[in-house]
Symmetry: C2
Subunit: 440 residues, 2 copies
């Protein structure tokens, strides 16, 4: 930190990676300079060094440019390193080295934190520096701060979130306009909401990164991304969205984390959400997270989950947090990165087959007498009771039977489904979608 | 702060006032002791002294009880004072004295902060102590922390919130079940959602306290509760809720603050909210605040705005914040209480007649030819253009004309309304309700 003539301290920021988020962060620091200065009093944020492989057109006021991000790491004048390279390999090296040389780091890289967070946070702790990553989850929504600080008095029971804007845009369009998945996806790619290779978003990996980070902070346990159950939305059909709506639900792609008796669930999958829930009204590219905690009950946080401005808002909020509690951190910023000073290392991560849920089933059958009776008796035999049934005639002598079950164990349901699928009159694989529970 | 044999520091809490919130705070510190300890590491929260005029039945583990809260203030073992007395006079004295003797203070008292906040915050600053009040606004929703810290990189343009649960419960019931205001109010009193004297809630004073606090933190200016425009919901009629619904809106009691070109609006009044807005789906006793800021855009925060558990959650979050950044604060906790180190003292607070808005008008007229033409030409003459019109026959030869205007200045509309009311065929005072804007 350097002291200027005017008695202001400058906190020098180095940005590694100058794509959408890196440039957005720089732009924001410049554009809102006065507001940030009013918030911080005598400390000013200043971008002094940028590493970028690209062009520098139209960028002024930055002293140094490098191709190699390690030059930013090694720049003794840089106080805080912002990592906006993305991806794993290069970003991991840069962040690791920055922490090792004693720099605070802010990153927007959810994959990095979900995958290497435990190692990096240990490194930060050992070196007396901080690693912040508010922008890695739900873009501009300050959800990590709320979990770590705002709800700090609570036991967090569960959280459920729409944490991938691309997926939510696709599901919203399918639901509101009865459009096919593939059509909406193509449009989303045209609009820039979806990548050329959209699998990261629609298959749930992106949401799982964010969920793993939220779960660790909510429950106070090491990051466990590799134990997160992941199911995408690419096989969702319009029929299911329509039937869900008839039953009073919409279908959202949710990340759900739950802690109960030292046992943790972490799962990303499509889920029926009751239309009575606020989460059901979160449409388009928006993100939202519901947190249920004791004693506060349910709180919801929603807003833009992506985009240069929203992500930069969270990156710079982390920078302001660092500026508001300068080193040495032993006497100052004592908010642990994962929300708890003592992490639980012995929580069991429940296998998906062990969860309890209500389920939506769609079964395509030949229009024969007795099929419905066969199916319901198979469910009954397994102890699975039925909450609602819809039966619809389709073309080709096909009937669709839609069943909403009461709560049962997934493993038990899976066995029953296998038996149902072995019935002669049942045509296709049975469609099974979990129903999201918003109970405590 | 005392050090125990087991190397834990105890942060001793004194609670003044042992009603719903005071007792809830104590209960929470005891009940979630382990979670809070895991979050804080070596610091433990301990309630050591309580001032209460009431009984102490069923309360254990507290060393000292006093009738007079000043004894808690003067107790040298108490590190942090929690003020949950409520009201103005006694609470003001207790908080002032606590700050003067160098104690950090946490209060749930929105009236106190809205009314005496400037003096108390100055006092805290002079004495090197902190005064926190997250629980004073929107109960368990960490909205003040989000404004001060989560959105710190932004220029906040406006915020709009449902910040009185009683009022929202009444409006929800009126809207969903076509029930009269007076009926729902009576029921709310029975259910404990409304006070015996409900005027504080339904006339908007409570919401105005909270709005004034949020506006100061959002814009970085001294508290200005006495300049807040306040209009209650007691005169809302079912007809208006019904017509609003036909036009695609619901009616909510909102607190709205807006900053534009150094000019601040602060107003509490019923408002039409488009059913497309998430805020329109916030029902019952729930609270929610939308914040529009640059560059993040709109974020929304919702949850329980009242109740022992929700309020205690916020009180104890403040205590944890204090524990995470112990004194001396010059090197530590540098988050300014109103979000900014430098407050703007020269913002103009706009008079309500100066605001620009769209308006809903209901005009009861005699069923004569030409009335509609007279009304619309009066509006047109004032430069007020019309967005939508509904005309309904009522009994007694009465017709209701409902008009949605485009944006105009309230003072201009008021003049036009006065002219309309002077028309011979116009029966009652014209009903005028502002339409909430969610544009930037």
């Amino acid at each position: 930190m350097s002291v200027s003539l005017s008695d202001s301290c400058f906190l020098n920021i180095g940005i590694c990676g100058y794509g959408t988020v890196g440039r957005g962060t720089h732009d924001l620091i410049v554009k809102n300079e006065n507001t940030i200065a009013r918030r911080l009093g005598d400390v000013r944020l200043k971008v002094t060094h940028i590493a970028s492989r690209g062009l520098r057109e139209g960028v002024s006021g930055v002293n140094k440019w490098s191709i190699d991000p390690i030059e930013v790491v090694n720049d003794p004048e840089v106080d805080i390193l912002v990592e906006t390279i993305g991806g794993l390999d290069a970003a991991f090296e840069v962040v690791k080295k920055a922490l090792l040389v004693g720099k605070d780091v802010v990153t927007a890289n959810k994959a990095l934190i979900a995958t290497h967070g435990n190692e990096l946070l240990n490194l930060a702790s050992k070196n007396g520096v901080r690693l912040l990553f508010e922008s890695a989850v739900a873009g501009g929504i300050p959800i990590l701060k709320s979990l770590r600080e705002g709800l700090a008095a609570n036991n967090i029971n569960w959280l459920a979130g729409i944490i991938n804007g691309t997926g939510n845009y696709i599901l919203t369009e399918m639901g509101n306009r009865q459009r096919l998945f593939s059509d909406v996806l193509r449009e989303a790619q045209k609009l820039g909401y979806a990548e050329a290779d959209p699998s990261f978003d629609i298959e749930g990996t992106d949401a799982a990164h964010k969920l793993a980070i939220m779960a660790s902070i909510a429950f106070g346990m090491p990051l466990a991304f590799n134990k997160t159950y992941i199911e995408g939305i690419s096989s969702l059909e319009l029929d299911d969205i329509k039937y869900a709506s008839e039953l009073g639900y919409c279908i959202k792609h949710l990340g759900i984390a739950r802690l109960s008796e030292r046992c943790v669930q972490m799962r990303v999958h499509p889920a029926l959400v009751s239309l009575d829930e606020l989460l059901a009204s979160v449409d388009g590219v928006g993100n939202a997270v519901v947190v249920h905690a004791d004693p506060v009950g349910s709180t919801l946080y929603s807003g833009p989950g992506a985009g240069a401005g929203a992500t930069a808002s969270a990156v710079v909020a982390d920078l302001i947090d660092l500026a508001r509690s300068p080193k040495p951190i032993s006497h100052a910023h004592k908010v642990p990165s994962l929300g708890f000073s003592k992490l639980m290392t012995d929580y069991e991560i429940l296998n998906i087959t062990g969860i309890e849920s209500e389920y939506y089933l769609r079964i395509n059958v030949d229009d024969h007498v007795g099929v419905m009776a066969n199916i319901t008796s198979l469910l009954e035999k397994s102890g699975i009771s039925i909450d609602a049934v819809i039966q619809k005639e389709k073309s080709n002598n096909c009937v669709q039977i839609v069943i909403l079950t009461h709560i049962c164990i997934e493993r038990v349901l899976n066995s029953a489904i296998a038996e149902i699928e072995s019935l002669e009159s049942v045509r296709n694989p049975v469609v099974r979608i979990r129903v999201a529970s918003f109970e405590s």
